[in-house]
């Protein structure tokens, strides 16, 4: 897999460097899009790559509740590394958010919670933990999923398997196949689930389907690990968006959950998240947490404090929290408006393709169905940037660019064969597990 290392040399020479055998890494498929976008000088360019919210002028937004928290915190006094028992307050607020304040889990402290470096960091801590205590176990990831999931578990040296999730023809949930794959996986497997606003497809199971999935997980004794990156940004309501987790909890599953405050509070650069693992009792929670802290200690010692202070200030202040909830609703409303507008514009252009999925899908992203060839074409000719799986970040769509976007999509697709392009784009979902050097 990796190029043979050439480091054992008989000669010592500064002309031949130590790093000669280090090849250039491929660009990250998501973050690389922003790099390409930044390099583009066209005034019409649109960045639909990374899932960062933009206002209707296409500008980054700092939420008012965040500015409020900053003002409240200005001049805060101490800056030291939090002890590894780490920012208990942030963890408290996070678990209350996802599990509910009054639940037994929270009241009886049956959770091992640790602050993490956003969703990525929370997933990585869990992956390392999984490897440490279940060294042979693979992780089952949905097809498709956020590309970085593959990197995370791979770098933690946990083998990756996949289960079917999305059907490119229906552009909906491939429910039958999903259930089959859950059943045919060996008992006690670890599964990663998106509790709402699936990334990249925007396709979520409905309540009935979640109940069936949860039931089958009980039969198979699978471990459900939820990656909760969009609580509030799917429906606009915090509680609605944690419904899947509630269903699993009611069935008695002791789940794991990665939470991210990156998008839901617009704290992208601050890297605030939380990992929680539910346990039978408080003692076990304490033991598990101690192990998680050890893993974190060898990776970065302790998490950055500034962002977590912002989050816990907001969640701990009823006014700021209410303001936050309003602002989340406003973000969702704008995204839903843009979905409607984009679909309307495409239909007005008499596009031969079916664009219902634009308004059916949920959350920040639209899984357009555009093939990699179309995606490249959009970038080259129209300066419109998205990931090659055809995922569009709707947050990057504005009233002033939606028509340009619709026109561009129509231009590249009007003569294309839908089926073959769907098939090709479906195959693009299967991520390349190993990067060539």
């Amino acid at each position: 897999m990796w190029r043979r290392c050439l480091w054992r040399r008989g000669i010592s020479s500064s002309a031949a460097g130590w790093w000669d055998h280090v090849g250039a890494a491929p660009k990250d498929p998501i973050l690389g899009v922003t790099e390409a976008f930044l390099a583009d000088t066209s005034p019409r360019k649109i960045n639909l790559g990374v899932g960062a919210y933009r206002d209707d002028e296409g500008r980054p937004v700092v939420l008012q509740c965040v500015r409020g928290a900053e003002t409240k915190l200005a001049g805060s006094q101490f800056l030291e590394s939090l002890p590894n028992a780490v920012n208990t307050k942030l963890v408290e607020e996070s678990v209350q958010l996802v599990y509910g304040k009054e639940t037994d889990i929270v009241q009886e402290r049956r959770f091992a919670g640790i602050q993490a470096l956003s969703g990525t960091g929370a997933c990585r801590l869990f992956a390392e933990f999984q490897r440490r205590f279940y060294p042979e176990s693979p992780i089952y990831l949905p097809v498709p999923t956020w590309s970085n999931h593959h990197n995370i578990w791979r770098d933690a040296q946990v083998p990756v398997r996949t289960f079917r999730y999305y059907h490119p023809d229906s552009k909906g949930l491939y429910f039958g196949a999903l259930m089959d794959d859950i059943k045919s996986a060996p008992d006690n497997s670890f599964f990663l689930l998106h509790p709402c606003a699936h990334n990249p497809t925007g396709v979520d199971p409905n309540e009935e389907q979640w109940r069936e999935i949860s039931h089958e997980f009980k039969v198979k004794n699978h471990f459900p690990f939820f990656d909760m990156a969009y609580q509030g940004l799917a429906s606009g309501d915090i509680d609605t968006d944690s419904k899947a987790i509630k269903i699993f909890r009611e069935d008695g599953h002791l789940i794991g959950c990665a939470q991210s405050f990156t998008k839901i509070m617009g704290l992208y650069g601050h890297r605030v998240g939380c990992l929680s693992i539910l346990s039978v009792d408080e003692n076990q929670a304490i033991a598990v947490r101690s192990q998680l802290q050890q893993i974190a200690r060898a990776m970065y010692s302790s998490p950055p404090v500034h962002g977590s202070l912002l989050v816990s200030t907001i969640l701990g202040d009823s006014q700021l929290k209410a303001l936050w909830e309003e602002e989340v609703k406003a973000m969702v409303a704008r995204i839903i408006r843009m979905r409607a507008k984009l679909r309307e514009s495409l239909e007005k252009l008499d596009s031969p393709l079916n664009w219902e999925h634009i308004t059916n899908q949920v959350g920040m992203f639209c899984f357009s169905g555009l093939s990699p060839e179309y995606v490249d074409h959009l970038a080259r000719k129209f300066h419109i940037y998205m990931t090659r799986d055809g995922r569009i970040s709707m947050a990057g769509v504005t009233t002033s660019n939606v028509d340009y976007l619709a026109n561009a999509i129509h231009e590249v697709t009007r003569f294309g064969q839908e089926d073959s392009s769907q098939r090709r784009s479906f195959n693009a979902f299967i991520p390349h597990i190993s990067y060539a050097n």
């Binding site: 130590w18 650069g269 890297r271």
Partner: protein
């Protein structure tokens, strides 16, 4: 409760001890073994899980039983655990000389003025909170490399340094360790004996083998230079040699400039690669340039090297987690490629680094007025530590009638002093005198006020002479 390990490795052979737990119709049998093939192909039991019996076990599991049932409590971190114990102590004479966090004479945490000013500037500007690129804030990466090597250093001019923002020293070391594991599989890192406790954890978790080279000589409470040279020579060719750029942690003992030259000689001879941990630039001597002289000496010889930096102590940004990993390569092209691979390692760890600390550093170092002010504040902090060293030495010499030579305290440099106290003596410091320190005999002078020097001297003298 028997500790057991559940494994998904398929196993044959007959079940031995069975632990039947209450179940319902959803009973599953899990056959597990406590032996696992590790990365290096040898069978080893999982060191993290207690197992009462080796061999195969069966367990019937009910769905609501956690699969993490057998997980033991991890040992408390030896350094951070000290602060926790200190907090729990109610004695009024208690003194926390555990973690290396700077304290004022009043033993209060200290937020640097330049940091407050930088944060106010940032607040006024109302900057956004967008993602940084994976490699971090460009302005930060530039100033941090300039600070380390000197802005007019040819290695900077030639663009031969790959710099990636990391989560303070730990995060930067971890990225480097991951790079070593991936591109130099089987290569060893040799670390000083003793060294910062977390170094071993980092290399263990990154699956990089390590061994120790002699460093501290308890007889002289100084550097075992011959032992160090000999062990570096002994190490397999092409090893990574972890060096503390200045203010060695935990001993406070640094090589002299002449000794650094000899260390560079033997590293070149053996084709090793130097790997510096620079956590105290400016904090050791009070001068940023002087404290970087070891790194610059190696760079000037045309050597390739790695440097992990931290701004936790010198800018007091402990909890913002700001640092960097620098790889000085022989060519600009190699630097570009190496940087791309560091990014690839960072992405599945945390995607991109936190913004706040990076902006503070970029604002302070990038603004001439703030930079000058920072240099003054750093001299003040380093100065306070030098003065408590002196006071402690004076108190010990005055009070101790045994004629023991305490001058090593003055020779050591930086935040820490290796007292030479053994574990039992260190325990006595805590149990009898409520002085909290690490069991290796390290005290953090940053946590000592001149008002408490006499008390500390009493404690040290008692522990040294009356406890064995």
């Amino acid at each position: 409760m028997a500790s057991t390990m559940l494994s998904l490795a398929s196993a044959s052979a007959s079940p031995s001890t069975s632990l039947a737990l209450q179940n319902n119709r959803m009973t599953k049998l899990i056959l597990g073994t406590s032996d696992h093939t590790t990365l290096w192909g040898t069978k080893k039991s999982n060191p993290f899980v207690k197992t009462k019996s080796r061999g195969q076990i069966t367990m019937a599991v009910a769905v609501n039983v956690s699969r993490f049932e057998g997980i033991p409590m991890a040992p408390p971190d030896p350094i951070l655990g000290v602060s926790e114990a200190f907090k729990a102590d109610t004695d009024e004479m208690k003194l926390n000389l555990g973690v290396g966090a700077y304290r004022t004479e009043e033993l209060q945490p200290y937020v640097l003025d330049v940091v407050k000013k930088a944060e106010n500037l940032m607040l006024e500007r109302g900057e956004n909170k967008e993602y940084l690129p994976i490699e971090g804030l460009a302005a930060f990466n530039k100033v941090t490399a300039d600070l380390l090597f000197g802005a007019d250093n040819p290695v900077i001019q030639q663009q031969r340094v790959a710099t990636v923002q990391g989560l303070s020293g730990t995060g930067s070391l971890r990225l480097a360790a991951a790079l070593i594991e991936r591109y130099f599989p089987g290569a060893k890192v040799i670390i000083s004996s003793p060294t910062w406790g977390n170094h071993k954890n980092i290399f263990n978790d990154a699956r990089v083998p390590w061994s120790e080279y002699r460093y501290y000589d308890p007889k002289t409470v100084g550097l075992d230079f011959d032992g160090m040279m000999s062990d570096i020579k002994e190490a397999p060719e092409g090893s990574f040699v972890l060096l503390h750029g200045c203010a060695h942690n935990p001993t406070g003992i640094d090589p002299t400039p002449e000794q650094w030259e000899k260390i560079a000689d033997v590293i070149q001879e053996k084709n090793h690669i130097p790997f510096f941990d620079v956590a105290y630039q400016g904090f050791a001597s009070g001068s940023l340039d002087a404290d970087a002289s070891s790194v610059r000496l190696f760079a000037a010889r045309g050597m390739e090297l790695l440097v992990a930096q931290s701004y936790s102590k010198n800018l007091g940004l402990y909890s913002e987690r700001i640092g960097a990993i620098n790889v000085l390569c022989s060519s600009a092209d190699a630097a570009v490629r190496t940087k791309s691979q560091l990014k690839r390692l960072a992405r599945p760890m945390y995607s991109n680094p936190p913004i706040h600390g990076a902006r503070i550093v970029a604002n302070v170092v990038g603004n001439p007025a703030l930079f000058d002010e920072w240099k003054e504040e750093m001299e003040m902090m380093a100065g306070r530590i030098k003065s408590v060293r002196q006071k402690l030495f004076d108190s010990l010499t005055a009070k101790d009638k045994s004629g023991k030579d305490w001058s090593f305290i003055l020779k050591q440099i930086g935040m820490f002093s290796f007292t030479g106290l053994n574990k039992a003596q260190s325990d006595n410091m805590t149990n009898r005198w409520h002085v909290y320190m690490t069991k290796d005999g390290r005290i953090s002078l940053a946590g000592l006020s001149s008002a408490k020097c006499e008390y500390l001297a009493d404690a040290i003298i008692d522990s040294f002479h009356n406890v064995k």
